[in-house]
C-alpha cells in the first residue's frame, strides 16, 4: 500500500471559484454573542481550506505541510484544557467558545464549508481527548496533554472492529495478563481515523465478560505490537481511515484509562460518552458541506430556472431546520442531557441531506459536471463518509424507533435515566438521559 492509501492520486487541480461563505449567522442559527463571534472567526479561518483540501485529497499526508494554516491550529485549541492552549496564536474568546459541544458544532460547520477533509486531518486530541477527559486520572491527563501540545501530534480513537463495527458492547480486542502478569493487548481495529499516522491514541478492548469488562487503553503507536496502515477510501481522504493490528502489545497499568474509577464508569462509559458527543460535530460538518455545495451550485449556474432554484432552496430550508436541531442537541449535551435518539437522528439526517445535495448539484450543473467541477466531484465523494461516521444511518434509525416507542423522541419524555445501565447497555438504543 502506498503512502497515499493505495488510491491513484488525481492530477493537481485548482478550483476556479470565488470563495464566499455566507456572512454570519447562517439560517437556523440562534447563537449568543460569544458563539456568533466564534462563527465569524471560523468563517474567516476557512479561507484557503479549499486549496488545502485539494492537496489533502491528492495526498492525505500533505497536511504535514499545511500546519501553518490558522484553521489547522485553531480547531484543536478548544479541545485542550485552558492551561494547555496556545494563547499567543489564537484569540481567547473564540477558543473558549469552541470548547463546548455547541461551539464545536459551529466550528465544524464553518471549517467543513472550507474543507472537511482538512479538518479531520488536523493534529490534536480529537475524540481521544474526549475519552481522556471522561476517564483519565490526573497523572494520565497531564501526560496526555503534555504529549499532544509538545509538538503537532495526531491521535486516534480505536473502537470499530472488522467483525463488530462500532458496537461497543461486543468488541473482541482482548486485554489479558500473560504468564508474568503483564497485560497484553491483541486484536484488530478497522476504519479508525488517522491511526496509521498517529503518535498516540485510545483503544477499547475487553478485559472481562460483560459490559463492565471493557477497558480503554492509551497507547503510544511506537510500542511494539502496534501496526497500522491506511485504507484506500473513496473520499474524505484527510480522515486517513486506517486498519490497526495489535499483536501481543504489552500494556502498563498506567496506560489503562480510568484505573481509579469503578468499572461502570470506565471503558464502556467512556466509549459511549465520546460517541454521543462526536455526533453533533459530524452533523455540523455535513451541514457545512451542504451549504458549500448549494453556494457553489448557485455561483456556477446563476441563471437557474425557477424549478431548479426551488429544489436548491428546498435543501437550504432543510439545512436551516437541521442546523437548529444540531444546535439544540449540542446545547443539551453542554447542559448534561444526552438525548441519544435525537442526537443520532440529527446526525443521520444531516449526513443524508449532504449526500442528496451533492447528487442534486451534479444534476443541476449539467452533463459531465463530475468531470468539469473537480471540487464538486470531491464533495460528492467526501459527504458519503458522514453516513457511517459515529454510527450508520441504520443504527440511528433503530435508535429513533426505540425513542419513539419510549415516547420521548418528540418531546416531554419520561424521567431521565442513566444511559449506561447494568441491565441493558446499548450504544444504540438509549433514551433521553443524563450524560
Amino acid at each position: 500500500m502506498s503512502d497515499t492509501g493505495g488510491l491513484a492520486a488525481p492530477p493537481a487541480v485548482t478550483y476556479p471559484t470565488v470563495y464566499a461563505p455566507p456572512a454570519a449567522p447562517l439560517a437556523g442559527t440562534d447563537l449568543d454573542p460569544p458563539l456568533r463571534a466564534l462563527d465569524r472567526h471560523c468563517r474567516e479561518l476557512s479561507e484557503g481550506m479549499r486549496e488545502a483540501g485539494a492537496a489533502v485529497d491528492r495526498d492525505p499526508d500533505a497536511i504535514a505541510g499545511l500546519l501553518h494554516l490558522p484553521a489547522v491550529g485553531f480547531q484543536a485549541q478548544g479541545s485542550l484544557p485552558p492551561e494547555y492552549r496556545d494563547t499567543g496564536a489564537h484569540p481567547a474568546g473564540p477558543v473558549q467558545a469552541s470548547a463546548s459541544s455547541l461551539g464545536w458544532a459551529v466550528t465544524a460547520e464553518r471549517l467543513a464549508y472550507g474543507d472537511a477533509g482538512v479538518l479531520l486531518a488536523c493534529p490534536g486530541p480529537s475524540l481521544s481527548g474526549l475519552a481522556v477527559e471522561a476517564l483519565a486520572d490526573d497523572a494520565q491527563r497531564t501526560a496526555y496533554y503534555e504529549r499532544v501540545t509538545s509538538a503537532p501530534t495526531w491521535t486516534f480513537f480505536g473502537l470499530t472492529e472488522p467483525r463488530k463495527g462500532s458496537a461497543a458492547m461486543e468488541l473482541e480486542t482482548s486485554l489479558a495478563p500473560d504468564d508474568d502478569g503483564t497485560l497484553v493487548l491483541n486484536g484488530e481495529k478497522r476504519y479508525v481515523g488517522t491511526a496509521a499516522r498517529a503518535q498516540t491514541g485510545v483503544v477499547f478492548c475487553r478485559r472481562a465478560p460483560g459490559p463492565w469488562g471493557i477497558e480503554a487503553v492509551l497507547l503510544d503507536t511506537a510500542q511494539q505490537g502496534f501496526e497500522a496502515e491506511l485504507l484506500p477510501m473513496v473520499g474524505l481522504r484527510g480522515a486517513r481511515i486506517s486498519h490497526i493490528r495489535l499483536t501481543d502489545l504489552r500494556v502498563r497499568p498506567e496506560q489503562v484509562l480510568g484505573r481509579h474509577r469503578p468499572p461502570s464508569r470506565r471503558g464502556l462509559y467512556g466509549a459511549l460518552h465520546v460517541l454521543y458527543r462526536g455526533r453533533p460535530g459530524i452533523a455540523g460538518m455535513a451541514l457545512g458541506v451542504t451549504q458549500a455545495v448549494c453556494d457553489y451550485t448557485a455561483a456556477h449556474r446563476p441563471a437557474m430556472p425557477a424549478s431548479a432554484r426551488g429544489r436548491l432552496d428546498g435543501v437550504l430550508d432543510r439545512a436551516a431546520a437541521l442546523r437548529r436541531l444540531v444546535h439544540t442537541v449540542a446545547g443539551e449535551i453542554d447542559h448534561g442531557v444526552v438525548d441519544v435518539p435525537r442526537i443520532g437522528a440529527v446526525k443521520s439526517r444531516a449526513a443524508a441531506l449532504a449526500e442528496e445535495t451533492t447528487l442534486l448539484a451534479a444534476e443541476l450543473l449539467g452533463p459531465a459536471s463530475l468531470i468539469e467541477h473537480p471540487w464538486l466531484e470531491k464533495a460528492y465523494r467526501d459527504v458519503r463518509a458522514f453516513e457511517y461516521m459515529e454510527g450508520t444511518g441504520a443504527v440511528h434509525r433503530l435508535s429513533v424507533f426505540h425513542g419513539l416507542v419510549k415516547g420521548d423522541l418528540l418531546g416531554s419524555g419520561p424521567v431521565p435515566e442513566p444511559y449506561v445501565t447494568p441491565a441493558g447497555v446499548s450504544a444504540r438504543a438509549g433514551g433521553r438521559s443524563a450524560g
Binding site: S2, G5, G6, L7, A8, A9, P10, P11, T160, P162, R163, K164, G165, A167, E170, R190, Y191, L231, P232, M233, V234, G235, I241, H243, E355, L359, A362, E363, G366, P367, A368, S369, L370, I371, E377, R381, R384, A385, E387, Y388, T392, G393, A394, R397, L398, F401
Partner: protein, 209 residues
C-alpha cells in the same frame, strides 16, 4: 427490532472475513469492452475508438493499472476525436442501453456481495442479515433492480438518465448497508462511484438530443 432467521443461501461462504474486498466487478474494463462491442472493435486490446457522450466527451478505462494514470477509480476522460464524434446515433443508443445494463449488473454484483458480507457480520448475537432493517434495505435494492431490468430499453436520453438515477439510489442503499466498507475505493464503493461518473457523463438528465 428482533432478528429474523435467514436460511443459508446456496453457494454462500461459510465465514468470509469482513473487510476483505470482494472480487472486483471490473467496471472500467467492462466499459471499454462495451465501447468495443458497440463499435465492433472487439478484436482484442483497447478499442481504437470510443462512443462519445452527448457533450463530446469520452470516458474510458484508465490504461495504466498501477495507479500512475491520470484517472481515478479506473477511469479516464478525454474529448472525443473527430472520428468518434461521427459515431452514428444507433451506435450511441446501443451504447446507452449497454451502459444501463452494465450499471444494473454492477448493482446486482454489489447486492450479492452485501448478502455475503452482512451474513458474516454479527451484532447482538445474530448476523446482520437477520435484522429486519437490513433485510428491508436489501429488498429495496433488489426490487429496484428487478423493476429496472423489466423496463426494457429507455426511450430517449431523459428516460435513460432517470433509470441511472434510480440505480444510483439503489447502489447507495447497498453502500449504506455496507457501512465503512462501502467507502473503500477498492471495493463496491469505488466501482459504483465509477458507474455514477459514467452516468453523469453519458446519461445526464436534460441532455435530450
Amino acid at each position: 427490532m428482533s432478528p429474523t432467521a435467514v436460511p443459508t443461501r446456496p453457494g454462500q461462504q461459510a465465514d468470509p472475513a469482513p473487510g476483505v474486498p470482494p472480487a472486483p466487478f471490473g467496471f472500467p474494463r467492462r466499459l471499454d469492452a462495451l465501447h468495443a462491442q458497440v463499435l465492433r472493435e472487439d478484436a482484442g486490446g483497447p478499442p481504437a475508438r470510443r462512443v462519445p457522450s452527448p457533450e463530446g466527451l469520452v470516458l474510458l478505462a484508465a490504461a495504466d493499472p498501477d495507479g500512475s494514470s491520470p484517472g481515478r477509480f479506473g477511469l479516464a476522460c478525454r474529448p472525443a476525436t473527430p472520428e468518434e464524434l461521427a459515431v452514428p446515433a444507433p451506435a450511441r443508443a446501443a451504447f446507452g442501453a449497454g451502459l444501463l445494463a452494465l450499471h444494473c449488473d454492477l448493482v446486482e454484483h454489489t447486492l450479492r456481495h452485501a448478502l455475503d458480507h452482512l451474513a458474516a457480520r454479527t451484532s447482538g448475537g445474530a448476523d446482520l442479515l437477520s435484522r429486519q432493517l437490513v433485510q428491508a434495505g436489501l429488498a429495496d435494492a433488489a426490487l429496484a433492480l428487478l423493476e429496472e431490468r423489466a423496463g426494457g430499453p429507455p426511450a430517449g436520453q431523459d428516460a435513460l438518465a432517470r433509470a441511472h438515477l434510480r440505480l444510483v439510489a439503489a447502489g447507495r442503499t447497498l453502500l449504506r448497508l455496507l457501512g465503512a466498507s462501502g467507502f473503500l475505493a477498492d471495493g463496491p464503493g469505488g466501482e459504483l462511484h465509477a458507474a455514477e461518473i459514467a452516468a453523469n457523463v453519458y446519461a445526464h438528465p436534460g441532455t435530450e438530443g
